[in-house]
Symmetry: C2
Subunit: 255 residues, 2 copies
DNA sequence: CCAAAAGTGTTAATATTACACCCATGA
DNA sequence: TCATGGGTGTAATATTAACACTTTTGG
């Protein structure tokens, strides 16, 4: 049984390969059908949902670890990442699980996995349609959830999610967003929906467009969105050079 | 020799008490004579300056650890803290030191202190005049430096400092500041100097005053600063209730 | 009595918000 | 042809920036 072996090795030997006491938790945001989504995992045998996460190899950059973890969960490379907070609460977890989880498993009582962890929180922005959610070895399901309709989360993951979303809301008032969340070509209404969804409030159509165009990060194409009812909206792409530049400098406006 | 014993115990036994692979680095800001200051330590035997830092006890909240560390360095309790970033670079340090540091010391080659560390960065705001800088066991000196005139820092501490200052600059555009950096009674020019020093640019006297008063976090006293040449400025205190409230909600203006 | 610093108010510029009309399209 | 959503411009308001005169005081 490959699973059994893997788990046992992970619990009993993992500390030889990974930094102990340190974990990574990721809040992966996607945008689909005008809804902001988050990727969650359902742990095997336990019926609990958790954020995707993992550990840092001893000879691995922290950010490389995050990318590795997220590539495993989503199939994507080149993911936008933002480190938003590190969680150090004493009671935040320890990997406490009911006995049944370990039936048939030979796991040492002093496994590194039962130690206390400090967790570094990252949020990621990904293009929903390109993601192939892949459960990890400990989990059964990997699914998208609407941010307004999350299941109960284990440990302090609800808190981590809340902090991530808040951080994201703050971020988009200062830095451009969308390149990582939208398809290559998108419409102004698409972009506005994205902002509205993240900020969780309505924005004025005309003012939004004016501000966005003023940032200079958009290219309007000589195409309109095909196959829509009513007047077809223009398609846009991001002006990557300007976008990247603004990612560094920030623009100072509030939507 | 107490020092020798302590160091040996710390290097050889510390992993039993502290979380391995995790450190804390603090950027302690003070304000004195219209200069923004940072507290640095000079390591014994090495002539290198570092940020104050430390480790987390296995049964200690992370924030409690930071407070403990800073109380040891400054003599203060109740310090304003802000976690600004976590540093996970592979090459960021490891505690590499020249051989001479270990002359006469019996330290195991596999001491936890030679492992790789992920470091959680906090900045602290303290009232300069109340601080009694106290070196730690590994260091010889603990001194204030003007932020514009820092010595060379070991490891990636210059980078950590830069990120802290940047984070602080960002912070003060959204949240009140000063309660932890100024004496209880202060003048409007004092407060302005503080802002100017942190932001590293001049502000308009009149507009500054208007905005500050508009926030409602200040109480003007019926006293003026004694013993000054020229017209004496009013003294202010912070309205703690309003200050604390604004610390949570933030005010949205840019200086 | 004057230089130097502090207190205060007004005006101009800019940014933000609110709002209304026309256009294109598929049903 | 009409209901729906998209494109655009302008006026009102709020915020920010620029700026000048008066007051106080120690030397």
């Amino acid at each position: 049984m490959e699973y059994k072996e893997y788990i046992e090795k992970f619990f009993n030997q993992g500390h030889k390969h990974y930094l102990s006491h340190i974990s990574i938790d990721c809040v992966v945001f996607g945008f689909h059908e005008n809804e902001l989504k988050v990727l969650l995992l359902n742990m095997k045998n336990l019926n609990s949902w958790v954020l995707p996460g993992g550990f840092i190899l001893k000879d691995e950059e922290m950010e490389t670890a995050v990318k590795r973890i997220l590539t495993e969960r989503t199939g994507l490379t080149d993911i936008f990442l933002h480190q938003f907070q590190t969680f150090g609460g004493l009671s935040r977890s320890s990997f406490t699980v009911p006995e049944l989880f370990f039936k048939n498993l030979q796991i040492k009582k002093d496994s590194w996995m039962f130690d206390r962890f400090i967790s570094v929180g990252y949020y990621a922005l990904v293009e929903y349609s390109k993601v192939k959610p892949i459960p990890d070895i400990l989990s059964e399901k990997c699914e998208w959830f609407n941010v307004h309709d999350l299941p109960e989360l284990a440990h302090d993951h609800r808190h981590i999610f809340d902090e991530a979303w808040q951080s994201l809301r703050f971020w988009i008032n200062h830095y451009p967003i969308g390149y990582n969340l939208l398809p290559e070509k998108f419409t102004m209404p698409d972009l506005q929906k994205l902002y509205e969804t993240i900020l969780d409030r309505k924005l004025d159509r005309r003012n939004f467009q004016r501000k966005m165009l003023a940032t200079g990060i958009l290219n309007r194409l000589n195409e309109v969105k095909p196959g829509v009812a009513h007047k077809a909206p223009y398609l846009y792409t991001f002006n990557i050079a300007a976008y990247e530049k603004t990612l560094k400098t920030g623009f100072g406006f509030a939507l």
